[in-house]
Symmetry: C2
Subunit: 345 residues, 2 copies
Amino acid sequence: MNSNKWYERSGRDGDVVISTRVRLARNLNRYPFPAEMNLEQKAQVVDSICKAAAKEGTPVSLRYIDVANLPQREALSLVERHLISPEFSRCEEGSGLLLSADEDVSLMINEEDHLRIQTMVPGLELDEAYETADQLDSFLDGQLRFAFDDRLGYLTQCPTNLGTGMRASIMLHLPALQDSGAIQQLANTVAKLGLTIRGLYGEGSKPEGAIYQLSNQVTLGISEKAAIENLKGIAAQIIRQERTAREELCRNPHFEDRVWRSLGILQTARLLTRDEFMALISNVRVGAALDMLPGVGLDLVSALINAAQPATLLAAAGEDLEPGARDALRAKIVRERLAETGKAQ
Amino acid sequence: MNSNKWYERSGRDGDVVISTRVRLARNLNRYPFPAEMNLEQKAQVVDSICKAAAKEGTPVSLRYIDVANLPQREALSLVERHLISPEFSRCEEGSGLLLSADEDVSLMINEEDHLRIQTMVPGLELDEAYETADQLDSFLDGQLRFAFDDRLGYLTQCPTNLGTGMRASIMLHLPALQDSGAIQQLANTVAKLGLTIRGLYGEGSKPEGAIYQLSNQVTLGISEKAAIENLKGIAAQIIRQERTAREELCRNPHFEDRVWRSLGILQTARLLTRDEFMALISNVRVGAALDMLPGVGLDLVSALINAAQPATLLAAAGEDLEPGARDALRAKIVRERLAETGKAQ
């Protein structure tokens, strides 16, 4: 198993923060926005960006992936790994993806904008994620000349991205705050501060796996640094609140029981739906974060969450499977990976 | 852990039959039935039976237990081990219990009758269980002279025991027949044949652990041998039906999943109520019977079922515990015993 990918590692404040993402929206000033371009223009944009990214001195080595011609399961697996947007996975001819070997840097070409530069880092690493994106942005800007207005900043297809074109976000595991019902109040508070928090999986009030995404909303009239500092401050508060709520949880003997039996089911089940898996792995993740489960660390949990997603499962199998067979494969992969790291008891 | 007790072993046809029990009701002809006796008479009966059982040449060595002066948890633990009746556990002065070291032979003195001789054997062993009881009966009869009428047979307090005074029963694990809903029909059928089948734990239509007891009802106008042959024949049919129903179960992938995750929960849970334990161990038992679970055999399952019963837990702990603490102790004991036999995966 290759453990080099960002989504198979844990990082700073990893007990609560799964990963950090920074995304910059950019457009080439010689072309209309993708929605207005013909196929030839799109091909030119793809070509220009690929050439620029491959130029000597590039801060990161990228390989080209022809998303439009991938099997659907592989395109959806890229979505599950947060490397492309769901819309981009359905893209027609004229789009393209540049991806680093570690999958920590991805460039979507001709999604909503000509270019979306995205960097991902495990744990809470807003500065690092921004710097990597910024370096690549500067390197490409030098060659491609991005559409920029002195008053508005970077020009983007959607006005909500105008200005910095930056969306910085943190993927948070908030099982204790979810349990205590504190998320809704948190959502109201962060909204007043120009941020948004939403469930990453599922649309309900209790997202699967208790995984949330906190991101900045404001891109206009604020510098990238200021937006990131703002996000950092709020993140620190949420992390503190989640940790306090977990201390409370630990006083309930049913919590320890829930964590352990969730691990027991993952170690033995022969069928696991995605919903059940997400509920169980969330319990195991908080147990691992609290050092309750010998041999089960956050890296392993992150790797399992990635490996167990539906399209990623099928992509690994190299074939499409009936839901029942997919649930059996999910259970098998989870069981085997948990067994590899030694049995916890 | 002492594994010599009958309830910690499995025997013939152990996939379906947990154990066999034979009980003979006897009364001394010099005394009225216990309900009519004063304390002095009761003491004389206890004394007579204890002396007779200790005479040279006794087929089984028995020790005396003063049930009336046991802590309640220990008396109830004897009930859970099927060594005494629930009524007997609440007995006042003037009763007594003689018990073999293996706990496969127990003599209740001054329960409903002066003497109840009971033998237990793991698996389906009606002949062996009857022979042991019969030998002890003959040995004691030679000294004590049991009340016997040439026309009616052995005289007993309750007319339903008149005649042979024998109740032979088989403890059956019938999860597949319970699942398929076939038990009610089975109960109707065996009733016509002079037998009865009922849940051993719990009063509902689905007894906890899917454990049932099949026993003869008729004691008058039928020899012991004939009653046992009748029971054997019906037991063989039920065993066949259960095995066929299990083959059907095995075709359902959810069944394998249920067996494995039940084991997983037992291996990891920190709190187990008795109801949940019985449901899980029933799944594990059928998995063990089908050789699905490496390292988990029927002996271990029998030992766990015994050890996890509420009063037996408290008796082992040597103290009474709150329900929450008892559930934690149950989970701990189950976990530790499962870990001892090596981890199954």
